[in-house]
Subunit: 160 residues, 2 copies
DNA sequence: ATTGTAATTGAATATCATTCTCAATTACAT
DNA sequence: ATGTAATTGAGAATGATATTCAATTACAAT
């Protein structure tokens, strides 16, 4: 289990944040943090809980929910997709800013980077004297696979 | 109470949608629809309920929640801002597509139009063979007023 | 106008992600 | 080692939204 190398800086970042705010670096917080470094791109609060149970850790869901805002404020994760039944989070530390396409049929999330968009957004904020902390672009629709499936279903209907 | 002129096309649109789907144009649905035409830019489900109570209408909250998806599917409203405690809706019929800045301090919502962004989004969807039904850009941050207030508070702290 | 029937309604209840309460425990500065 | 404020888990609370069900209603066909 020697795969925690990359998380060292994660942990440093988190520790610094906690110290700065008179908060304690507890066993539970460390375990939540590590569970997150293991998660793939996008995850729910519940995913962290399941991850920890797999690892025989007994951190409660309450503590996970209490830790999430700390991880957000320390710049390690952020809430990405709202409006479903539960919030989707993702790691942001050392990851380039990007946007999302969400398939309404299969739920797939497609990421994309768009420097042009960033420029436009900065201009808009400057023009409106608005201090932005977060840009969030979400394109909802249907992915390539689902479009294919839907077209095939239509064909079959016509044949019958 | 002769101020329902502008809602005629709203009502037509809704009636057409309902007929197309074997749904009935009930007294309650008409009242919800009219309550919505009266709402200002952005509103919650609860706002509709309050509006109707003011007008001595007894449409239940359950019916309002059941009517909202119908209004969305008929192209009259859409959910705009998620992630707060409740969903923010807005009218979209005959309204140009636009984006939002949300102040994290006072909750103010600032709308803006951006044709350049639309072009970029269309390109991205084409490149990914993604069929978009909805673009949603939300910029979170702090509005001009709140920034002023925060700066003044800082000054006062220094003086004390 | 009457009738048949599927759609709709309000009231109450359920859902379910997230937050809160509180007594017991713990991190960590001194 | 000690003091104290922060933290924890368990369970209860919250609150927006969804669902159940028996009674009502819209409306197409007669
Ligand atoms: Mn992502
Ligand atoms: Mn708007
Ligand atoms: Zn898909
Ligand atoms: Zn503000």
């Amino acid at each position: 289990m020697g795969c925690i190398l990359a998380s060292t800086t994660y942990e440093e970042q988190f520790k610094n944040f906690l110290k700065k705010n008179n908060l304690k670096f507890t066993k539970e917080r460390r375990e939540v943090l590590r569970a997150i470094t293991i998660q793939r791109d996008h995850f729910h609060a519940e995913d962290i809980y399941q991850q920890l149970r797999k690892q025989k850790s007994n951190v409660s869901l309450a503590t996970i929910y209490r830790t999430i805002p700390l991880l957000i404020d320390s710049g390690l994760i952020k809430g990405t997709i709202y409006g479903g039944e539960r919030v989707v989070y993702e790691k942001v530390y050392n990851k380039p800013h990007h946007y999302h396409m969400v398939c309404l049929n299969c739920g797939k999330i497609i990421e994309f980077i768009c420097p042009d968009m960033e420029v436009i957004q900065n201009n808009i904020c400057r023009n409106n004297i608005f201090l932005s902390t977060e840009y969030n672009l979400e394109i909802k629709g249907y992915c390539q696979d689902c479009r294919r499936k839907m077209m095939n279903e239509k064909k079959e209907q016509k044949i019958q």
